[in-house]
């Protein structure tokens, strides 16, 4: 066993890359749930974003346009969910599951001509001398723009929910739609906007897989990342900062266990493979024990002004 072969700086840099898709998707879903909507269609929106981002990037030659296209496609799919659950008052859980199935099927169909093609790569930001700093240069200053954008979004969402009036309204809608309605806020509009934001971020997360992390299009390539993102939201007790911790923890343990295997660590492989799930569940239990769970009170409940 040669653990010295694992270099911490490279390890941390890789875990940031492998965590970014679930971080983006989980952050979006967190906002959706804070508005009182449970959208289980994250996997479907991610895979839609993955194929749309890939297709746009190939056709335009620009990864940046690819990511925009992915966000638009994710938001468009989530709009279907928004119309069904908010205007037609369908059940959140059933509609979300249907969204996942629809997304998987649709992406397979759309993606057929793109199998085996190579996407234009997203260049790493050139931060000049910063990237030369030992350790921190590799960890912090040698990534592509999406990694920084995802971190900025975490900070932005945190500040939005905590300090802005709009954020307060969104939380009010999620805690008690009736009270928010009585105060004159447009519950349905707020929820639809939240759903679109969640869809766009899930789309970005999917595109990060197909354009950066893998990078290629393969049918079903998100392989359950959307479900992990949903779990991370619960793990994070609906807080932006904890979403970041959860996503990096999950991604980090995943990368770490693969590195430990590659280094020939004398730990049973079955335990290593299960470790991302075990560690995440463990932390979830600890957090719950501290009484920090705080699910939005109106989560998953349909609202109608007549109610």
């Amino acid at each position: 066993m040669d653990l010295t072969a694992i270099q911490p700086a490279i390890l941390i840099a890789s875990l940031m890359v492998s965590s970014t898709p679930i971080l983006l998707a989980a952050l979006g879903e967190m906002v959706v749930e804070r508005a009182g909507v449970l959208n289980l269609g994250v996997e479907g929106m991610m895979i839609t974003g993955a194929v749309a981002g890939f297709a746009v990037a190939i056709n335009s030659g620009s990864p940046a346009l690819g990511f925009l296209g992915a966000a638009a496609a994710g938001a468009a799919l989530s709009l279907a969910f928004a119309v069904l659950t908010q205007l037609l008052l369908s059940n959140h859980v059933a509609t979300g599951l249907a969204l996942t199935l629809a997304g998987l099927g649709l992406s397979a169909l759309v993606g057929k001509p793109y199998e085996g093609m190579k996407a234009p790569s997203l260049p790493k930001l050139d931060l000049g001398p910063l990237a030369e700093i030992p350790f921190f240069g590799r960890v912090l200053f040698s990534h592509d723009v999406m990694v920084y954008l995802s971190l900025a979004l975490v900070a932005g969402v945190w500040a939005f929910l905590r300090y802005t009036r709009a954020g307060l309204i969104l939380r009010a809608v999620g805690e008690s739609a009736e009270a928010a309605h009585a105060l004159g806020y447009h519950v349905i509009r707020v929820r639809i906007l939240a759903i679109l934001f969640g869809g766009a971020l899930a789309g970005l997360g999917g595109a990060y897989i197909s354009l950066v992390r893998v990078p290629q299009w393969t049918e079903g390539m998100t392989a359950g990342a959307g479900w992990i993102a949903l779990a991370i939201v619960v793990f994070a007790s609906w807080r932006a900062g904890w979403v970041l911790v959860g996503a990096y923890l999950f991604g980090g343990v995943t990368v770490l266990q693969l590195n430990l295997q590659a280094a020939g660590a004398a730990v049973p492989v079955a335990l290593l493979s299960a470790s991302p799930y075990l560690v995440t569940i463990l932390v979830l239990v600890i957090i719950s024990a501290r009484g920090l769970q705080g699910a939005p009170a109106a989560l998953g409940r349909s609202f109608h002004a007549s109610g």
Binding site: I10, S14, G116, R213, V214, P215, L258, Q261, A262, P268
Partner: protein, 359 residues
């Protein structure tokens, strides 16, 4: 009706064979059950290529139907029962995990012929078939051993089942012969198909010094990771993965099911179909070696092709002694070759491999 009679008569003439009366009235209906999507670029993709070869060969004499992404377990019973009820004469179930379900459905439909890939349970109307992928792994191992500069070869394994372990052993034995300093690092991904995880596994191996990546998972993600890293080579798995030519993909192991499917369907048409077990390799054409690209020096390519030929002709068996088990106890004496029974149940590493096989 006239047109249909004409077509089937033409088809019968084209084959120049006396078909049983039933087959002249209707095309023979063949069902395929797939474990993944036909667009996976690997295992299921190659089985579907086999189905397309059947259609091309028999034309209107057959009608094929397939169902994708059928989970192993109770759903497979439903899918196969539905196919049998809707008139399928023959059903190919193309994943190991359908084994008990195939037998269950086969018992209910004694007139329908079943072919089960990679399984070992048979019945009067159930045959099994698989390919000797380890023969291809030997050629791959040789190229890997000759091509590595760091002497570290990364291997992305899926599940600890005999087929995967055979592949690791075969690749290792031949890499070691080509380069005595070679070292294998095996990562168990516990998935057949998860591009993101496969890419992470490849990246982890590359970061720890591997400059050759072998994979027993189905997506092209490890090749994409190898390309991104630069100076790292890999191989196509199951299908050619030609889009990564000439490098990082320097060669590939191909699963070629079409000829077998055509043979078995022909046998069913002729009335000579019998339950049997088939395990074909390079020599029978079920395992192919994809083009070895110019990224490989001519000398190494010649050696690899010679190795392939000697395996194909039966002159050389990839598991020829002396070979010891990992713990140093003797397995094969000098010149002795492994028997199929041991290979089919292989659950141990050969000497020189490090790490443990998870159970």
């Amino acid at each position: 009706m006239h047109r249909r009679t004409l077509l089937s008569t033409a088809a019968a003439l084209a084959m120049g064979l006396g078909l049983p009366a039933a087959a002249q009235d209707d095309p023979m209906k063949i069902g395929f059950i797939y474990v993944g999507p036909i667009g996976d670029g690997g295992w299921t993709y190659t089985h579907n290529q086999g189905r397309l070869a059947v259609e091309e060969h028999f034309g209107d004499a057959v009608e094929t139907v397939y169902q994708e992404s059928v989970p192993e377990g109770a759903d497979a019973v439903r899918a196969m029962t539905q196919m049998a009820l809707s008139g399928a004469d023959m059903i190919f179930a193309t994943s190991f995990g359908y084994m008990d379900q195939v037998l269950e459905v086969a018992e209910k439909f004694p007139e329908v012929k079943f072919e089960h890939a990679t399984g070992y349970k048979r019945a009067d109307n159930v045959s099994t078939y698989s390919a000797r992928f380890y023969e291809g792994r030997a050629v791959q191992g040789h190229i890997a051993g000759r091509m590595t500069d760091t002497n570290v070869i990364g291997y992305i394994a899926s599940y600890p089942i005999p087929e995967v372990i055979r592949g690791i052993n075969s690749a290792y034995i031949h890499a070691k012969k080509a380069n005595p300093d070679v070292e294998f690092r095996v990562v168990w991904a516990y998935t057949w198909f998860d591009p993101a995880k496969e890419a992470d596994a490849a990246t982890a191996l590359i970061e720890q010094g591997a400059d050759v990546i072998l994979q027993h998972t189905d997506s092209t993600a490890p090749l994409a990771a190898a390309e991104a890293a630069g100076d790292v080579i890999g191989f196509g798995q199951a299908s050619d993965m030609a889009e990564y030519k000439p490098s990082p993909r320097v060669s590939s192991i191909l699963d070629i099911w079409g000829p077998y499917y055509i043979d078995r369907i022909q046998a069913a048409m002729d009335g000579t179909w019998e339950s049997q077990d088939t395990w074909h390799g390079i020599g029978d054409g079920m395992v192919g070696i994809g083009e070895i690209t110019d990224a490989v020096p001519a000398e190494v390519r010649e050696e690899a092709l010679a190795l392939k030929e000697s395996i194909a002709s039966g002159e050389y068996h990839p598991f020829t002694g002396p070979i010891n088990r990992q713990d140093g106890s003797p397995w094969l004496a000098d010149g002795e070759t492994a028997d199929d029974g041991t290979l089919l149940g292989m659950d141990f590493y050969v000497e020189g491999l490090t790490g443990e096989i998870p159970n």
